[in-house]
């Protein structure tokens, strides 16, 4: 899932203040924490309240899209949501959402309500969402017992752990697990500790030429 956090309300209010009739759209896709219709509704109320405090009256339409990054689905659904009155769109999706909408409606200002922060997964027990993949383009999970050192090790080491690993925690932040301690624990369980012996060459940072592009 793509993890986002809400932008400060002042920043959003600054974006939308020049307009009155605004469409707020959630995304029911992969973004977490959820940013669907309920969150869109809550945000509209917050902005309404914020607008009042700034003596500004908005007129929000609130809706949600299945997957904002799917340009076909989004194009079809937006047709019914965007009429001549809509002056701007505020999107609760990850950064892909506003970009998809901007291409579909070149003449309409589109603003992000979210900051897109990482690709993560839920840790149910701790009740957190944690970064798990950095889209490095050359996946090493097969060698590391299914634990990603690129995103989970503070130094993205491929031949860890470093000397700062203490009691399973990382020296950079003692609140965080040392990814390499987890990897060793897992490899041990799998009876594959010998995988650690192989020295990994420095990462090829050109595995994905940015901006990435593929033919699906």
């Amino acid at each position: 899932m793509i993890v986002t956090t809400q932008k400060p309300l002042d920043e959003i209010l600054d974006f939308i203040s020049p307009y009155k009739n605004i469409l707020i759209v959630g995304c029911d896709g992969c973004t977490q924490p959820p940013r669907g219709i309920r969150e869109a509704e809550t945000l509209s109320q917050l902005l309404d309240l914020g607008g009042k405090l700034r003596n500004k009256e908005f007129n929000f339409k609130v809706n949600t899209l299945v997957k904002q990054c799917d340009s076909h689905l989004t194009a079809v659904a937006l047709k019914d949501m965007i009429d001549d009155d809509v002056e701007a769109v505020l999107s609760l999706a990850c950064g892909l959402g506003p970009q998809t909408i901007a291409i579909l409606y070149p003449e309409l200002p589109v603003f992000p309500a979210q900051n897109t922060v990482f690709i993560g997964a839920e840790e149910r027990e701790a009740g957190t969402i944690e970064e798990r993949c950095a889209a490095c383009g050359d996946c090493v999970l097969g060698l590391t017992g299914g634990i990603c050192p690129v995103s989970r090790c503070a130094k993205s080491l491929l031949n860890g752990p470093c000397g700062g690993s203490q009691n399973g925690k990382c020296e950079i932040d003692p609140e965080k697990d040392c990814a390499w301690a987890l990897i060793i624990e897992r490899l041990e369980k799998l009876g594959r500790l010998q995988d650690l012996e192989a020295i990994q060459p420095p990462k090829d940072h050109q595995a994905v030429a940015r901006p990435g592009k593929i033919m699906p």
């Binding site: 309920r38 109320q45 009042k52 405090l53």
Partner: protein
């Protein structure tokens, strides 16, 4: 002290200690004509947008009363409510609204008699904070 009387909206769960709510009805309402009680089937029914709408419509303080941890009629409504209130208390200050203007009280049956004083306490706190100057015009 000024004679400022805050507008308070109290969302009251239907199931949490009936005695408590009745007591509240008799002993608080007389003293606080600006208290509006809205009964919901569960504190979990109170969506953030309800709370925000109350503020937008001129409430100076919003309180939610629900069942004690573990006692929610619908299992987890009060936990949801707890989470929401926590998040809203973090968000409201971004609009210049103090988190003290929002209160969640989860009350167990034996503590029900204390409920009216908890509401009164809140009314008192909000009175101290003064009016929230959300423009009153055009509220819906």
């Amino acid at each position: 002290m000024s004679d400022f009387k805050p507008q308070i909206v109290l969302f009251c769960c239907n199931w949490f200690s009936h005695d408590g709510a009745d007591l509240a009805g008799t002993s608080i309402l007389h003293g606080a004509p600006h208290l509006r009680v809205i009964r919901t089937m569960c504190s979990g029914r109170v969506e953030p947008s309800f709370i925000l709408r109350a503020f937008k419509s001129g409430a100076d303080g919003v309180m939610i009363a629900g069942c004690y941890a573990g006692d929610c009629h619908y299992m987890s409504g009060n936990y949801k409510s707890q989470r929401r209130v926590m998040l809203l208390k973090k968000t409201l200050p971004q609009l210049g609204i103090g988190p003290e203007r929002l209160k969640l009280d989860l009350i167990s049956a034996p503590e029900a008699p204390k409920f009216p004083s908890s509401v009164n306490e809140f009314i008192h706190e909000v009175t101290e904070l003064g009016a929230l100057n959300v423009a009153k015009a055009g509220a819906n």
